[in-house]
Symmetry: D2
Subunit: 358 residues, 4 copies
Amino acid sequence: MTTTAHLSEDSELARLYRDFTAEHLNPLWTQLDSLMPTAPAPRAIPFVWKWSNLYPLAERAGELVPVGRGGERRAIALANPGLGGAPFVTPTLWAAIQYLGPKETAAEHRHSQNAFRFVVEGEGVWTVVNGDPVAMRRGDLLLTPGWHFHGHHNESDQPMAWLDGLDIPFVHYTDAGFFEFGAEGVTDESTPDLSRSERLWAHPGLRPLVGLDDKSNSPIAAYRWEHTDAALAQQLALEDEGYAATTEPGHAAVRYTNPTTGGDVMPTIRAEFHRLRAGARTRPRRDVGSAVYQVFAGSGGFRLGDDVQKVGKGDLIVVPSWVQWSIVADTDLDLFVFSDAPIVERLQFGRTLVSRNA
Amino acid sequence: MTTTAHLSEDSELARLYRDFTAEHLNPLWTQLDSLMPTAPAPRAIPFVWKWSNLYPLAERAGELVPVGRGGERRAIALANPGLGGAPFVTPTLWAAIQYLGPKETAAEHRHSQNAFRFVVEGEGVWTVVNGDPVAMRRGDLLLTPGWHFHGHHNESDQPMAWLDGLDIPFVHYTDAGFFEFGAEGVTDESTPDLSRSERLWAHPGLRPLVGLDDKSNSPIAAYRWEHTDAALAQQLALEDEGYAATTEPGHAAVRYTNPTTGGDVMPTIRAEFHRLRAGARTRPRRDVGSAVYQVFAGSGGFRLGDDVQKVGKGDLIVVPSWVQWSIVADTDLDLFVFSDAPIVERLQFGRTLVSRNA
Amino acid sequence: MTTTAHLSEDSELARLYRDFTAEHLNPLWTQLDSLMPTAPAPRAIPFVWKWSNLYPLAERAGELVPVGRGGERRAIALANPGLGGAPFVTPTLWAAIQYLGPKETAAEHRHSQNAFRFVVEGEGVWTVVNGDPVAMRRGDLLLTPGWHFHGHHNESDQPMAWLDGLDIPFVHYTDAGFFEFGAEGVTDESTPDLSRSERLWAHPGLRPLVGLDDKSNSPIAAYRWEHTDAALAQQLALEDEGYAATTEPGHAAVRYTNPTTGGDVMPTIRAEFHRLRAGARTRPRRDVGSAVYQVFAGSGGFRLGDDVQKVGKGDLIVVPSWVQWSIVADTDLDLFVFSDAPIVERLQFGRTLVSRNA
Amino acid sequence: MTTTAHLSEDSELARLYRDFTAEHLNPLWTQLDSLMPTAPAPRAIPFVWKWSNLYPLAERAGELVPVGRGGERRAIALANPGLGGAPFVTPTLWAAIQYLGPKETAAEHRHSQNAFRFVVEGEGVWTVVNGDPVAMRRGDLLLTPGWHFHGHHNESDQPMAWLDGLDIPFVHYTDAGFFEFGAEGVTDESTPDLSRSERLWAHPGLRPLVGLDDKSNSPIAAYRWEHTDAALAQQLALEDEGYAATTEPGHAAVRYTNPTTGGDVMPTIRAEFHRLRAGARTRPRRDVGSAVYQVFAGSGGFRLGDDVQKVGKGDLIVVPSWVQWSIVADTDLDLFVFSDAPIVERLQFGRTLVSRNA
């Protein structure tokens, strides 16, 4: 409508617009399309980071940058190329490679932001969550829900690197974050195989009577690879036996859940693990909300919009909101994924469009 | 107030009461005390059934009474002596010993009533729940939620007896029950170690993506002893290490839960397992609602009101509403218990009174 | 199966049955049909109490029976003819006519049982609920949720009678009830038009900031006739204008709700008001759970199973579980109804079967 | 930690940082303070827009800018000075003055964004929501939940301006928005006093039986001033009578709610109305999340951090996250407020710090 304005009006209009600006006002009609597009038009773009590039950079950071109070963590964030250099993999999510050298310690702190770690390779680090030492091993998902103290220490002679996932961008955006320093070092230096949280909580279908109160976060600090792997293997075996157990043919998947509610592990972050048989492909789909995949094992291709990218172990793939995506497994393909689906769903913005053709 | 009535009034009153009766009316004021006592005054009484009496009677039934269509199950119900001979262990709950001889089969049926089985000894029977064969072994809790088809077959050369728990009295009382015959025999005669429901669902903190819908009953058909035992052992070990993990000193306990909600396994029945160290004693308490214990291992004493009874393996103990109870463990003592707590709590009638002195 | 027993077995069987009885055991197979019928077979029967009979009996009780501490209330309960003379209109529900003479007072008490009053005619009584005086007028629904102190006082020169509804049978059955005497007289003798609860809570869609905590009962003490009447009139007017607003043609209906949840007013009792246009008829249906109707205005017929009964103002009609029922309105017909639907639904036993033919 | 780097390291470090950038990576340690401050440090600032400035600018827009398809609405957004000129009053919320001239129509459309209108003065416009014409009058709150079609038409000879509130920034940020054009004009040009939604739903504590399904948005399209005003007046009257009804002395407040849940009217937006007596002051407090106030009547002062601003009718005040704020009422003071509290609370980020001193 503004394009049809006559010239003489235009000068009054120009004055009006200047007066808007002076009064900290901004008209809707000149920018409706960008503010309210007919479908999500994310600035974040689909992108793939290769593990073969990430790990050497993390190693170099390990040599050059000490871990210490103030900077807190040697974490290198994936910066979505569409987001102007900010350390945000999507508008809501943070994904980083954290690197801890032999015998290094990352001191304790806590923050409102919800965090997890996923281990694509290595072991020897314990993360200490509210005083509970949690071993980190290949394939494990480790939780650090908001406002839990946590620090890490590497007890081995080898460096270790892992994926950190947080809701830093979301908390930053909503101005909801608090941060507090904790102990230098970690408060418990013991190195048990299982955390106390697992010993209390990681028994299928069982809840300790000391833990009957509602919890907004999962009380399980570590979701171990052996359980994830077994659950996926069983789904594929059941499929072979003719029973409905997989989400699509050749596609097994589990969601990590809070056993006190059956819901997501943390209020803002969903985490799942997917396994595709060699040759399987997922139906193309779009979802409101953004997700980040990490290849745990195997190789395959991600179609993101019109583009296909080959991926292998450790590679990280970001799928922005409403981008059409699908996966083809060249070999058996294991994928960890996390997303902001709880934000989208709890606020009733969820939509999914699944293509009829695989 | 009626006791102060004069005689001349009384004859009019007597006529009034007769007219009430003729019109199917009944005055509150003559029976308030029994209808609305100051605290629950259950007709059901505390009672103990000895396994040493129960099992031989079940064996004799096995010899004399065939299992067949019509009677359906060779189940012998505990009839609370306070309830006038009805086969109800409490007003809401049914508890029975079911006995299946070598190679016998109990044909399939389904009903609105929620059911479980708990195995205090033996093995060799599979219960087939909606077509899924579920092995029954010592220490296992097996679920048959309402309206699931189920039958049992004994594949061994030994008879097997177990505890059946249901909400038959409650469903009968509320006129909520439906019943339907199913297949003669069982629909799947295979004898796997693990049911398909466990393969899909019994992984700690993991939910299959094919099972994201809400479920009013637990989708896990079998809660295996190895998990229950491990969870209890861990609680006691954590206590030894100085961490809060037990409900009272020397008293470990888990609740069986529906992993899709974190709540009770079935809408009307709560099930838990408790382990007391030798010498431990529970705080005397009263609860609204009724419960039935079965000793799984060890020996000890139940104080029920003013009475103490010694109990050992297999013995069944009923605790009616608001009766004060406490337990002393003579040896290490393992106890299965089920109750109508979900009924009480969902309808907001829950109250508990815990004594300060252990 | 028992019928085919041979004689020689029979004597052993007879001995077994005697031994069962001696040990407080009771076999399932001899009574399965009555315990677990193929569909609900309630002992309670459909029945109608005529107001023209009830009210004179209440008046006579008013003359003969004082209201006083101990008997507490001059309440005359409807005793379902199928329930053996117990003062229960259904297995779960209590319905009574309470009668209070001019200037009489019913002293305060409280109990776990949830209660309401519905006024089919008259006014002049205030019920004082936790110290809040609540005027009772024709068409009003007044709540006394569990464990709220309450007493009544009649400020007028006329007697007043009303319908009391409670969950006394259910609470008695589950042994969940507590009772406590309160003040002699009532704690607040003022006679405001509106209770404080209404002034705070009865504004459509608005919640006071002092009342943001969860409440298991509605905080509204009185649902006034003017609101109920207006809501029903609007539904029929909208139907006339061509919009979907009625539950069936000519059948308007509202449910009384807890504004803090949108759910039922109390944990065990549902209350609704229905209005049928003259000539309207409801579809025959069966529901699990029991209900009691009171005709508020107009006349019509209730079909209950195969029987049709004519009803008019004040008459009370009980519909046991799974009995097929339908209503025909001879004139415009206003009906209050309460039921145990929250018990049935919260415990997942709900089923409804609606006939295709009106 | 990076500040202590030696020069020779620095050049390697500089190279590392360049390589990070080339690979779309971004280290945490250089920016922790801004990303994860010890308490929320919003870019949005506290600010006041004066109605005396806003309205004339809206009038000028009314003369110069047509309302038409494409720009859709003559809405002038408040652009928080801290947010770089974007039309966002806070990071999550949109607030705008919308202006519709005599006999003008704003055509129908729908979008994922949740919207409301609040009327500080004037009348004569109907907003048509999913075909239901809703009159807009002084003091009314009108809802347009996500994906409801809506258009407006002014039936009077006077222009009308009102406050629009939406979650446009949040939906833009999360890439969750869809938009669709609807009818030219409005689909129902009738001008009833009450919308059909009110006739069906706006009866206190009553729910139509046709509306028993769960609803994520309030089904009430209009919250009328007469109800809001009465609720607030009653709270103050109850306070005068000595009863707890106000949130603080002299401070009455109601929350607009979804009657089907008792929760907020829409998934992302909370709306409330507050009334302060002349001379009353609120306790200084900080909350996570952002809010926008509009003065409806009276005058007073807002303390925002260390700054106090005088406000009067129509003025709009923004309170960013964790800014300390308090209000003093110079006269009786009526305030409408909306906020993103549902976002904060559903995602478990809520925190409030209330000062002890008023």
